[in-house]
Each structure stands twice: as structure tokens, then as C-alpha cells.
């Protein structure tokens, strides 16, 4: 397996842990973004961090989007007093529709498999105009277009 294969596998594995923790039925794009933010030693992670998006900041932005969207329907997650469920540590999750789509888009931004690097995967996630990730980033005041431009510059430098 090549370095990018190992990297993608690590991102998906981390995404699975995130999905289990928030009780999701599948690994979605926002779980993969958290997985990317958790893998050290990539230029893509540095670009995210310099835009204020470390793993915890992304998690916080996603939580705010969740509360905000529930609020649109007049619901608050905090209004239910149930104890948090115990996650299943062994539950195997598949990629959800948004997870698959962002990977496909990421692969398409690279010129062939040999060129594929972590930054391309972030570009694939940022390409989504609709859904949880763009809503969370907008609420957090992140300029997605500027972030994508910076990623393309870093990728053009040949950075991993």
C-alpha cells in the first residue's frame, strides 16, 4: 500500500471513531474532516490549523451547526434530560453518501493516483455547497473559497 492509501485508511478509521461517538449510523464528510484534522504531519492540516480549524474547533463548529439546525425546528438537544448513551466500541460503520462523495470529489481534484495527497481530500470536502460541513464552516466564519485557494497553492508546491 502506498502512503496515500495508509493515510486514507487512517482518516476513515478516525472518522469511524468520531461517527461512533456521536451516534451516527455512517461515516459522513464531517467525520472525515475531523479525521484529516487529526492526522499530523500534513500540509493540509497546517492550512486548516492556520485558518483556526484544529480538530476541536471543527468539532465545536459542527456542534453549533447541530444546535442551530435543531433550533430552526424549535428543538434543543439540551431539553432532553436522558443520560448519554454508551457508544458501541466495536460497531463497524460504512461510509455514508456524503463521505463517499467527498472522497470521489477529492480524487477528481488530483491528476491521477500518484498525485493524490491529503490536500486533495480536503478540497473534495470543501467542494460541497450544501450539507453539514459548509453550514458549520459558514457559521464559524470560515471563508471556504480562501481556504481552497490556499490548499491549491500548497498542493502546487508539491507539499504532502
Amino acid at each position: 500500500m502506498s502512503a496515500i492509501d495508509h493515510y486514507i485508511q487512517a482518516v476513515i478509521l478516525h472518522g469511524q471513531t468520531e461517527a461512533r461517538q456521536d451516534g451516527s449510523a455512517a461515516i459522513e464528510a464531517h467525520h472525515l474532516l475531523l479525521g484529516i484534522a487529526a492526522q499530523e504531519g500534513t500540509a493540509a492540516r497546517e492550512v486548516l490549523t492556520s485558518a483556526g480549524l484544529d480538530r476541536q474547533a471543527i468539532r465545536d463548529a459542527l456542534d453549533r451547526e447541530f444546535e442551530h439546525s435543531l433550533g430552526t425546528a424549535g428543538v434543543s438537544a439540551a431539553s432532553f434530560g436522558l443520560p448519554a448513551p454508551t457508544p458501541d466500541p466495536d460497531r463497524r460503520l460504512n461510509l455514508g453518501a456524503s463521505g463517499r462523495l467527498c472522497l470521489e470529489r477529492g480524487f477528481a481534484t488530483a491528476t491521477g493516483k500518484k498525485d493524490l495527497r491529503p490536500g486533495h481530500l480536503v478540497l473534495g470536502i470543501l467542494e460541497a455547497e450544501l450539507g453539514t460541513v459548509p453550514r458549520a464552516l459558514t457559521l464559524a466564519g470560515v471563508d471556504r473559497a480562501a481556504l481552497a485557494t490556499r490548499l491549491r497553492e500548497v498542493l502546487a508546491d508539491g507539499s504532502w
Binding site: G23, E65, S69, T72, A73, D88, T132
Partner: protein
């Protein structure tokens, strides 16, 4: 503002907001199901009781939650 809606519930303005609310409510419902089933089973409810309360089959609720609850150390009543 629709007359039957309480004043403190904002109306969805945009399709994107309304659709995002659907996604968030589904996720909340999934989280609540996990929490409520765990709470019931810790309180000694049986699988058929939980299934009937949820309006699903016993097989469905068992398949979805049994591994998680065993891992959580919940003492489960035998399936009837």
C-alpha cells in the same frame, strides 16, 4: 407567522435551513433512541416491551442495540 405556531418557534425561511433541520432532527432521534433504549434496559425492561413502545419489531431493536448494551455492561433480561 402561521397562527398555530407558538411565537418562540422560528419558521424555517430557506429550503437549506429546513432540510438541515431534518438532518439534525434525524441525528437527534438516533441519539435519543440509543439513550432511551439503554435507560429502559438498565431499568429492567424486556426486548418485547421496548420494541412495542418504539413501534418496531423485537428482532429489529435487538439487532440494533444488543452488542452495544452488552459492551456497556447492562444486565439484559432474557429474550421472551
Amino acid at each position: 407567522m402561521v397562527a398555530c405556531m407558538p411565537a418562540d418557534i422560528p419558521e424555517p425561511q430557506e429550503p437549506a435551513d429546513a432540510l438541515a433541520a431534518v438532518v439534525a432532527l434525524r441525528r437527534l432521534a438516533d441519539q435519543l433512541e440509543d439513550a432511551a433504549v439503554e435507560q429502559a434496559m438498565r431499568a429492567g425492561w424486556s426486548w418485547p416491551q421496548v420494541a412495542e413502545a418504539l413501534g418496531v419489531t423485537r428482532q429489529a431493536v435487538h439487532k440494533k442495540h444488543v452488542k452495544r448494551l452488552i459492551a456497556a455492561g447492562v444486565t439484559l433480561r432474557r429474550r421472551q
